[in-house]
């Protein structure tokens, strides 16, 4: 049986794909990779469909042993990564021989990296997806983050031509990230003083998780909290709870919320938000819906023309 064995699980390593769509009506979130951009590119490195499963690795990575020949792709933030104790670069596909050990260590910038395999994981789907959602223990391995001595079985490896991520797709992660955002449905009830503060820096809290990224250090308030009615929310929705510290909802977020919605992160920038490490800074830049759609269109064309990936398939 083709297998990887988990010698060290890392801080929080889970299986994620982008296929849990259509279950919000039962209260089940989409889950999926926090950074879809890097997930898609990791899958490209091994020639798999962009929705396919990868391992999402957070801040401190796993150590894995392979008992079969395969090809892997690693893409995302920079992690100190070794193959059989030799330091390796993360932006290309890598051929693996049976017996090899991959050690993805500490994160050097950003926060997340995605590991793809040319072989399919042999795991049970839950709600059409392999995504781990540990609140109700579905997807992944036993519905949980990876643990020491877990193993994942794989189907047969496909032959893959080694690829390298083109320079124009690589990202740099800075101490201060500027994130584009569209005005939210409750933008009009933000107090005048808070509107001015919206352009200033926020700190990213270490209490962030797959449900949401919490901001602090720049409190905001709304004029009339009581006028807010529950409405639907999604990944990228910026909520303002009563305490005044905004939350950016992420992959495992609930689908409805009663807090004021001050903004919605432009779709193409959500992946950047997911890579801002705790205690780094974030600044908002407001754009229109039309501008956000142009950015999506630009990204679509770039993926299509340079990599042959159809993001609307």
């Amino acid at each position: 049986m083709n297998k990887i064995k988990i010698l060290r699980p890392g801080l929080y390593t889970t299986v994620q794909d982008m296929r849990r769509v259509g279950f919000k009506k039962y209260g089940i979130p989409k889950s999926g990779p926090m950074d879809e951009y890097s997930h898609v590119l990791a899958n490209w490195l091994v020639g798999k469909h962009y929705l396919s499963e990868t391992l999402e690795i957070n801040y401190y990575g796993p150590k894995l042993k392979f008992n079969f020949d395969t090809t892997i792709g690693i893409f995302g933030a920079n992690f100190d990564t070794y193959l059989n104790n030799q330091k390796i670069k993360i932006n290309k596909s890598i051929n693996i021989k049976s017996g090899d050990t991959l050690d993805i260590g500490v994160c050097l910038d950003g926060g997340r990296i995605y590991l793809s395999f040319s072989a399919k994981m042999k795991l049970d789907k839950s709600f059409n997806s392999l995504s781990t959602y540990d609140k109700i223990n579905i997807g992944g391995v036993n519905g949980k983050k990876l643990a020491k001595n877990d193993s994942i079985s794989f189907l047969k490896s496909e032959e893959v031509i080694v690829r390298t991520i083109p320079e124009s797709f690589k990202r740099k992660y800075y101490e201060v990230s500027t994130i584009r955002v569209i005005k939210g449905v409750n933008y009009n009830i933000i107090s005048e003083k808070s509107i001015k503060k919206l352009g200033k820096e926020f700190n990213v809290s270490s209490e962030s998780d797959r449900m949401g990224i919490r901001l602090n250090g720049n409190k905001l308030n709304v004029l009339d909290q009581n006028s807010i009615k529950s409405t639907i929310v999604t990944k990228g929705t910026v909520q303002l709870p009563t305490g005044g510290d905004p939350i950016i909802l992420m992959s495992d977020s609930q689908s409805t919320g009663g807090y004021p919605i001050i903004g919605n992160i432009a779709r193409v920038d959500i992946s950047k938000v997911s890579q801002i490490k705790p205690e780094s800074k974030l600044k908002f830049k407001f754009i229109t819906l039309d501008e956000s759609e142009s950015l999506i269109n630009f990204e679509k064309r770039k993926f299509k023309s340079k990599l042959g990936i159809n993001l609307s398939s």
């Binding site: 769509v21 259509g22 279950f23 919000k24 009506k25 039962y26 209260g27 089940i28 989409k30 839950s126 709600f127 609140k135 109700i136 223990n137 579905i138 569209i182 939210g184 449905v185 009615k229 529950s230 409405t231 639907i232 929310v233 999604t234 990944k235 990228g236 929705t237 609930q254 689908s255 409805t256 919605i261 903004g263 919605n264 992160i265 432009a266 779709r267 819906l289 956000s292 759609e293 999506i296 679509k300 993001l311 609307s312």
Partner: protein, 226 residues
């Protein structure tokens, strides 16, 4: 089909349909049935809230304006066959024993009624399933007797057991998985209404109705051990 419908965006991946007039949940339901029946591929999910509809869509497959005009033409097309689900009434056992109903005594005190009166008032209505969400399988039920309305607890509980039935504001709700939460817990059902291993994981649908019947602790334990 419905006059004065207003479609507005919320970010680049959500579209909200509101009515300028007062709208009944039946009308919201039939609007959603019509949109669902037309199988628009960029729509990922549709939720019905108190007075509006929320649509999640994939912005890589459509722009807001294109989707809005598609929806408008679907809603004005009378030839679309609406696949509408029959609304069901569910009879759900509830146990008000204070071992399970963690807040029933406090709640009765706050409302200045005795527990018996509380139970009488809580068990009487036929509740509407307003929404499913917030947590997997969480049921928001409308139709709570106004005199039983009270705010969420100031400090949420870290663990609320599966099956717990709570009150917050003017709704009663059922926690179908164990989770943290701030509702005042006034009862528990022995039924497992949410099953992550089946699809759909919950058979009760938004728009259905629920009536409770009381079971004592012995009966609760008997059902839970079945």
């Amino acid at each position: 089909m419905i006059d004065n419908l207003n479609i507005i965006p919320s970010g680049d991946s959500i579209l909200i349909i509101k009515s300028l007039n007062k709208i009944t949940s039946n009308k919201l339901n039939s609007t959603v049935d019509k949109i669902s029946s037309s199988n628009i591929s960029e729509i990922e999910d549709i939720l019905i809230l108190k007075d509006h509809i929320g649509i999640f869509y994939n912005p890589y497959k459509s722009t807001y304006k294109k989707l809005k005009s598609k929806i408008n033409s679907v809603l004005s097309d009378d030839s679309i066959r609406i696949i509408s689900n029959k609304k069901k009434n569910w009879k759900i056992p509830i146990c008000y024993n204070s071992e399970l109903a963690l807040d029933i005594e406090n709640v009765s005190n706050t409302l200045k009624i005795n527990t018996k009166e509380f139970i009488k008032k809580h068990i009487k209505p036929c509740y509407d399933v307003d929404m499913i969400g917030f947590l997997p399988g969480f049921l928001y039920l409308g139709g709570l007797n106004n005199s039983l309305s009270l705010p969420r607890k100031k400090v949420p509980r870290k663990i609320i057991p599966k099956g717990s039935i709570g009150i917050a504001e003017n709704q009663t709700g059922i926690y179908n998985i164990e989770s943290p939460g701030g509702w005042n817990i006034i009862g528990r059902t022995p039924y497992e209404l949410f099953d992550k291993n089946s699809e759909p994981p919950i058979k009760i649908k938004q728009g259905d109705t629920i009536t409770f019947y009381e079971v004592k602790i012995n009966e609760f334990n008997r059902i839970i051990n079945l």
